[in-house]
Symmetry: D2
Subunit: 139 residues, 4 copies
């Protein structure tokens, strides 16, 4: 498997420039061949009653992790668009940062497919709070 | 099919009280037996480059529409939790309010299942921008 | 919405010719603009303990219903392939034929998306046994 | 993570006894804590034009792999039922046996959730033909 064609710094700059509503909420923690790990910063906007994170915040984190893993492999293409996002919510997240480990299973000519696992910072990665699968259409 | 046990006003009050981060973004437009229609108000936070709505905003709208349709039938249970949310993004939404028509296909003892279709206000409901399916666990 | 470009007879002949393993198991009951209704014939191969239908048999029915609805609109393209199939199993099917009503929500240049609802013959269509969503890639 | 409470032999005997339509088609290759690997034997019934495997055959393999991984952990409960099965088809399978590696991400009181990756025997496991997620309801 080939290495990413962009660095974490380049992808962070891209996100900040193109997605100003999203960039302040997330941090790219790691980038590898067909993989990316991202962090959702704890923020009041993402909270729900009982001190837990909202489902749509996990959707946001899964979606951006998939996007960064993909752009890391194919270069800056802001127009790659999500066509499917499917989430299984399994455990209550802590009132903490959320870590998402994404992997691409296929980058085809037209579609990229992968999945991701999320766990609360300080929590047990083998007890994930959410699993996501995603498909991106490549322009 | 029996009628809802709560009114739009009661559900709006519940949402405002229990989900203060969500309530300002949505409006309950209609409520029926096993159905709810909701509106996501156009807001800068939901926008993405090119004047379109973000996928996670559509996830939010699908999730809350499912929740309201469900609570309408079973009464106020804040602890009903989403276990699955699956979204197919089909067309670019307009820079406008988004309308979501949700229906429940099953309310069991432990799980409720349904789907929803979303279209931009002023757009063609037969050309939806997103289709969602959802499962809620009932405590 | 335009009418189908193929008839039920033409699609049945196509299915018999191209998918000899599938054709004996199903019947095209109705065909409309962006819609198809199909029947899975009761057959021992599809049964499971307790006299119910297997999940993979419902997957088969959803998949072929989507395919027929799509070919009805775009003509004979055997190479259209399923890229996503997602099934929510909601109730125990009866030991009877299974009816599937499919609809396409989008036929794009590259992807077609839709959903389907299944119920046992003689059962209540408002109490479906399974809901499916599907995506087909168009060659 | 605790070890399985059943052996491959016990699970094979259970499958043969309770699911006579399925058992001849599959082999349990490996069993571990929260994991199972299964093989779908190449059989004409599963083939499609062009010498490839059908999607519903992959649904069958994913479903039974999930079931075996689950029963391995909780013991013989024939009544555990699939509530969601979602499949992303990524590459054309070879005309060969299909291998499925399943893992459980959660076994709760009422729901078990996991995913699976499938590849053709002799193929590259890092180039899977299908990814599946599943939810089982535990009686």
């Amino acid at each position: 498997m080939t290495a990413p064609v962009l660095t974490i710094d380049e992808l962070t700059a891209f996100l900040t420039r193109e997605f100003p509503q999203v960039a302040p909420h997330v941090v790219i923690e790691a980038l590898g061949p067909m993989t990316a790990t991202m962090r959702l910063r704890r923020h009041e906007q993402h909270l729900r009653p009982g001190g837990t994170l909202s489902g749509p915040s996990m959707a946001l984190l899964a979606d951006v992790t998939a996007y960064i893993a993909l752009l890391g492999m194919i270069g800056e293409k802001a127009l790659a668009v999500t066509t499917n996002l499917s989430l299984n919510f399994m455990r209550k997240p802590a009132d903490a940062d959320l870590i998402c480990e994404g992997r691409l299973l296929k980058i085809g000519k037209r579609l990229a497919v992968g999945d991701a696992v999320m766990y609360s910072e300080g929590g047990d990665p083998s007890q994930p709070v959410c699993h996501a699968t995603f498909t991106y259409a490549i322009p």
